[in-house]
């Protein structure tokens, strides 16, 4: 609990306490360090022992009480440890990387907020709380991507990231609604515990029945897909992956923490949390999505030139692997890969960050306009930044999944599981393990392309611009972080046996599928196949990019352009969906102005016309009548006024006439 709230403290300290940025940084590191220690303590206490669940009443609506609290089990303590660990390293790294930025206090605040949200996410004990943390994670990611808010691209990127994530959140929310309706609780243990409500719910006669409610069976699938949609957005899976490459506009340290190691893994984490909810068809969808995303992202990564983008696509690809693992039932393997990937990808980013940092320095110092992230301008950095080079190579090897590395263990476990799973399926499912295999080869190629281009050969920046630049090793704070992370890329951190992933302690912490026995042929052949061909590809890459030997020119081919254009998915979104939406909204607004409001105005105008008519009638008819009456009266008055001549005799005449008339009348009426 405290561990989660410490980073929040950081957030407030950074925002509201007026100390120097350095002091804030120190406070932030102290907080996150404390978090790490607490997480470690908790880890030791909870791991493989009884889980810890603490909750308090939060809101009561009607008869339904929503509790909130924390749930610590193997999954959450593992994630806590991972998040706080990597966060600490990134914090340390950032002290140097972000040095001198005028808005540093905001940086620490956002970072603190993120760590809080992420830790909250992993320890939340109910879906709603998890959703809240989930969105907060997205929000802090939004803030961090747009940290340099004067950059137009950064702002566009953070908006895109948030909105795309919002789509996923929508799925999550719908999932929550379905779950709540069906089970009347959102508590994770009650729902997904070993004897929980989800496990006991059955599909019978087209209806999905649980103790608390009943719905058509379609909603079971819908719930699975809805939650998966959330995971897809957060973990940047096809078709919602487009925000992640753009998110690289944020500071590299942020990219490494959020967009490589932790936040993007939240989707996988979510799937693991609610795993019992998924039916077979949803799992298949997950597997297919994962496999496809992995493959697609790998192909794109092959041809990109921006160092961070390559890594971003690589991340997407690896997340695809995790999804694939989830979909194929290898929940544990997926999580294992999540952990190992967190370390080596974080390392890759941080190392890349060190490179970019140096390049940007050159840019600032020499005043040359170039893109510090373009690998075509790098090269030969091996000698100038040896530690960076070494650590990055280690991370790359881990990514490729070569033996002795952590990646080897986790990736193999996924692949082998996938093959085993495919045994029991037919049709499209058969293709999944092969595509994963292919993807892992592509991985080897693109990452070695990156390494060779950046670190081997000559510094092409100098060659092209004909200037001499000084590029040094990264500052010590950054360097040590790289080294620490590199240590975690080796096998011993996860398993004492470098070749047998089954021995990995992480795998033992989770419910293991029954296929984890070493009887199958796959267990020997697949690692062998993966590694041999990967080695071959690395060699080719070395020939092409390291040695600068003549290579076939693909750049004209359609496939190359297709990959370079990132499969045009993003363009499709921008040009079709976004502008479509905007034009629809304009249309709706026009509708609102013209039709709805127009109707009102027409009413008003009609009423006005009516009133004009009424006014006309009033003036020309009613008023005429009145005026006529008045005129008549006036004329009559004038006429009778003539009798008032002021002459006494006339008055007398009149008077007598009246008297006479009276007499005559009386006479003829006979009264006289």
């Amino acid at each position: 609990m405290l561990a989660a709230f410490l980073p929040l403290l950081t957030f407030f300290i950074s925002l509201f306490v007026p100390v120097k940025p350095a002091g804030k940084g120190a406070a932030a590191i102290f907080n996150i360090g404390l978090s790490l220690i607490l997480s470690g303590a908790l880890f030791l206490k909870v791991w493989n022992q009884q889980s810890f669940h603490f909750r308090i009443e939060w809101v009561t609506i009607g008869d339904f009480t929503l509790y909130t609290g924390i749930l610590l089990n193997n999954l959450s303590v593992l994630m806590m440890l991972l998040v706080s660990g990597i966060a600490l390293l990134v914090h340390v790294y950032s002290t140097k990387y972000m040095q001198g930025d005028p808005y540093l206090h905001r940086y620490w605040a956002y970072l603190g907020l993120f760590c809080f949200a992420m830790l909250g996410l992993v320890i939340a004990d109910n879906l709603l709380l998890m959703y809240m943390a989930w969105e907060l994670v997205g929000f802090s990611s939004y803030l961090l991507i747009g940290f340099w808010f004067t950059r137009h691209t950064a702002v566009l990127a953070n908006k895109k990231a948030f909105i795309v994530n919002r789509i996923g959140d929508l799925g999550f929310l719908i999932g929550i609604m379905i779950t709540l309706t069906q089970f009347h609780t959102l508590d994770l243990t009650e729902l997904f515990g070993s004897n929980g409500l989800v496990a006991n719910a059955v599909v019978k006669g087209g209806m999905w029945q649980s103790q608390a409610g009943m719905m058509p069976a379609g909603w079971l699938t819908a719930a699975g897909i809805a939650f998966f949609l959330g995971a897809v957005a957060k973990s940047a899976q096809f078709p919602l992956h487009t925000w992640l490459p753009d998110a690289m506009e944020g500071p590299t340290s942020v990219s490494s923490l959020i967009h490589a190691a932790t936040m993007v893994a939240a989707g996988v984490f979510l799937l693991a949390r609610i795993y019992p909810l998924f039916g077979d068809d949803v799992l298949l969808i997950i597997a297919i999505t994962g496999a496809f995303t992995a493959f697609m992202a790998a192909t794109i990564a092959l041809v990109q030139n921006d160092i961070k983008r390559i890594l971003a696509f690589s991340t997407i690809s690896q997340l695809g692997f995790m999804m694939l693992a989830m979909g194929t039932g290898a929940q544990a393997a997926g999580l294992f890969h999540l952990v190992t990937h967190a370390f080596f990808k974080c390392l890759l980013f941080l190392a890349a960050g060190a490179v970019i940092h140096e390049m940007a320095h050159v840019k600032d110092k020499q005043g040359i306009a170039f893109d510090p992230q373009d690998i075509r301008l790098m090269g030969g950095l091996r000698k100038r930044m040896p530690v960076t080079f070494a650590t990055m190579v280690i991370a790359s090897l881990a990514l490729t999944g070569l033996p002795l590395m952590s990646g080897y263990l986790s990736k193999d476990s996924i692949l082998i599981n996938a093959f085993e799973w495919a045994e029991g399926h037919s049709g499209l499912a058969k293709l999944i393990p092969y595509s994963a295999l292919l993807t892992s080869w592509l991985t080897a190629f693109y990452i070695s392309r990156l390494i060779f281009k950046v670190f081997f050969g000559e510094l092409r920046l100098e060659q092209e611009l004909l200037v001499h630049v000084h590029i040094h090793e990264a500052p010590s704070a950054m360097k040590y972080v790289l080294v620490v992370l590199a240590v975690f890329c080796f096998f011993p951190a996860f398993s004492l046996n470098p070749f047998l992933f089954e021995d990995a302690w992480i795998l033992k912490g989770f419910p293991v599928t029954d296929s984890m026995t070493r009887v199958n042929l796959f267990h020997t052949i697949i690692p062998l196949a993966v590694n041999l061909i990967a080695m071959l590809l690395i060699f080719i890459a070395w020939l092409w990019y390291g040695k600068q030997q003549r290579k076939p020119d693909f750049s004209a081919s359609g496939l190359f352009r297709f990959a370079e254009g990132q499969w045009y998915i993003d363009q499709f979104y921008t040009n079709v969906l976004v502008s479509g939406f905007v034009s629809v909204s304009r249309l709706v607004y026009r509708f609102d102005r013209v039709v709805v409001d127009g109707l009102v105005n027409i009413f008003a105008r009609a009423a006005k016309a009516l009133s004009v008519m009424a006014a006309w009638t009033d003036r020309n008819i009613v008023d005429r009548i009145v005026n006529g009456a008045a005129y008549l009266t006036g004329q009559g008055g004038r006429f009778f006024g003539h009798f008032q001549t002021g002459r006494l005799q006339h008055y007398f005449v009149t008077m007598l006439l009246v008297v006479l008339a009276f007499f005559i009348y009386k006479y003829y009426s006979g009264t006289i």
Partner: protein, 532 residues
């Protein structure tokens, strides 16, 4: 004088005080108003603290709190029976939170009134009259009294918009006035119909007492709105027609989609404090009226038409969101977002589930705080450069960092970021709508699913605005002149905004502060509407 009457008539007294103060003291009027509102807040806070959450209210006078019932107008009409109008006040879980909301929003509006420079005497007198009327609407339990306060609101608003508003203020004021009047005129017909249908069980005479109207036993047999006799009017069941008429009257206030067009115009043209009151309080009267009057008096008709209500709610959410996306005027954008957000209220209420109604109520409270905040923010910008067009601004974050921070809080809060009240409100409204099919079968599930797309839309337009106006390199239409004019928020504005932001966060983190007070009332209402 007891608490509620004090709460209602205190502003009126202050208004009179301002009227009799010499005009030379113009600069002191605002402090009088501020002092009044502060007293009001203290009173309403006291009311909140002492509110007994176990008493449900809704239809039972004994379960209301702070009840004041005095015979007011009592005339023997001979053949028509006895005219009985009571001065009847009381609060329950629905009205109490809204009274608290009103006093707080009024505080912000007074703080925003610092920008008003002309004819201060009239302005503050009308302002405080409006305050009285709103307080009266939320606490009266006699329909006639309710109607009087309801109409009394229109008058100051008309003048406040029409005299202190923007360029097209007269158009907007008249549009607003006519729209609302249209609704309330028909409402009056229904009120009279109800009056002749209902007798007070104690005195045996016809009555305007709302609580008496809620009990089917009080209807005279064969009267127009009688529950058992099922009279027809214009080929529609009379009770359904009455419900529809009342609903339309309140729907104009909410506003729901085909009846919303007064809102953007009124908001755009109104001065900032009036926009704040409009969005913060007046829209809530619509929702409150639907709960207190439409649903409670015509529960049978409410059940019949809940599907349509839900549909209107969903349409409002989506339509408002899409419209907001197309706006270039910041204030208009927020006005349309209000339409969208108030759609959640309707959707939640229509579901007749505890989650839905609580969510709807929460959305009203939350929207009260957040839209006030947003309009206040627009006012801050407008008061500095007299422009609100989104394309005319860019990169304000560099110039006004604190302001931008508040804008971000406001925007993210209203797009439903967890941790803010709007999230809780929208989530529960949607959950309520979704569970409705299982609980009572009023709303199909797709409505909730469609409604949730509104959350996505709100993210779209708000973030887009944020990106266009606040981020990037600074580039302003007014050039250097604007750059000098655009100073960051001053302490007065910081206080007002912080109060709202704090409340938004407080309710987001501890929603039970509001939920627990209204829970029993919500359950009672559901029992009344859908007795199962």
């Amino acid at each position: 004088m007891s608490l509620l009457s004090t709460l209602i008539f205190l502003p009126l007294l202050a208004g009179v005080l301002i009227l009799v103060m010499p005009s030379a003291w113009q600069s002191r009027f605002k402090y009088v108003a501020l002092g009044t509102i502060v007293i009001q807040i203290v009173l309403s806070a006291f009311m909140y603290m002492n509110f007994n959450a176990d008493l449900a209210g809704v239809s039972d006078q004994n379960k209301f709190q702070l009840v004041e019932r005095l015979p007011w107008i009592s005339i023997d009409l001979g053949g028509l029976g006895k005219l009985q109008i009571d001065y009847f006040l009381g609060i329950d879980g629905f009205s109490m939170p809204l009274l608290v909301l009103t006093s707080i929003v009024m505080l912000v509006a007074v703080l925003a009134s610092w920008e008003i420079k002309t004819n201060l005497k009239g302005y503050f007198a009308l302002f405080l009259l409006l305050d009285t009327a709103v307080m009266g609407v939320f606490s009266s339990l006699d329909f006639f009294l309710f109607y009087i306060f309801y109409e009394l609101m229109l008058l100051p608003l008309y003048f406040l918009i029409g005299m202190w508003g923007g360029v097209r203020r007269e158009y907007a004021a008249i549009k607003f006035f006519l729209y609302t009047l249209l609704g309330s005129v028909f409402m009056l017909l229904v009120i009279i119909g109800l009056y002749f249908s209902v007798t007070d069980p104690k005195t045996g005479s016809h009555t305007f007492n709302m609580l008496a109207m809620m009990d089917p036993a009080n209807y005279t047999a064969g009267s127009i709105f009688s529950v058992v006799s099922k009279q027809m009017l214009l080929g529609v069941p009379a009770r359904l027609l009455g419900f529809i008429v009342l609903f339309v009257a309140f729907a104009i206030k909410v506003p729901v989609v085909p009846l919303h067009t007064w809102l953007p115009d009124a908001h755009v043209e109104a001065p900032t404090p009036v926009s704040i009151i409009l969005a913060g309080i007046l829209l809530k009267i619509g929702g409150y009226g639907i709960l207190r009057i439409c649903f409670s008096i015509f529960p049978d008709a409410a059940v019949q038409s809940s599907w349509w209500l839900g549909l209107i709610g969903v349409v409002s959410i989506l339509y408002g969101g899409l419209n907001a996306l197309a706006q270039t005027d910041l204030k208009r954008l927020i006005a349309y977002s209000s339409v969208s957000h108030m759609g959640f209220v309707l959707l939640g209420i229509a579901s007749v589930t505890p989650e839905g109604i609580s969510g709807g109520m929460m959305q009203m409270i939350s929207h009260g705080f957040l839209s006030s905040m947003l309009f206040f923010l627009v006012g801050v910008l407008y008061s500095r450069v007299h422009d609100r067009q989104i394309p005319n601004f860019r990169g304000l974050a560099l110039l006004m960092p604190k302001y931008t921070a508040f804008v971000m809080i406001g925007f993210f809060a209203s797009l439903g970021l967890p941790g803010f009240s709007a999230f809780i409100a929208e989530a529960f409204s949607l959950i309520g709508a979704f569970t409705s099919e299982n609980v009572n079968g009023f709303l199909p599930r797709w409505m909730a699913v469609c409604g949730s797309v509104g959350i996505l839309l709100s993210a779209g337009y708000l973030l887009w605005t944020l990106q266009r106006m606040f981020f990037g390199e600074t580039r302003l239409m007014g050039g250097e002149e604007w750059k000098l004019a655009l100073t960051d928020v001053n302490p007065r504005e910081v206080i007002a905004l912080s109060v709202l932001a704090f409340l938004g966060v407080l309710l987001g983190v501890m929603p039970s502060l509001a939920f627990e007070k209204m829970n029993s009332a919500v359950l009672e209402l559901i029992r009344l509407v859908n007795p199962q």
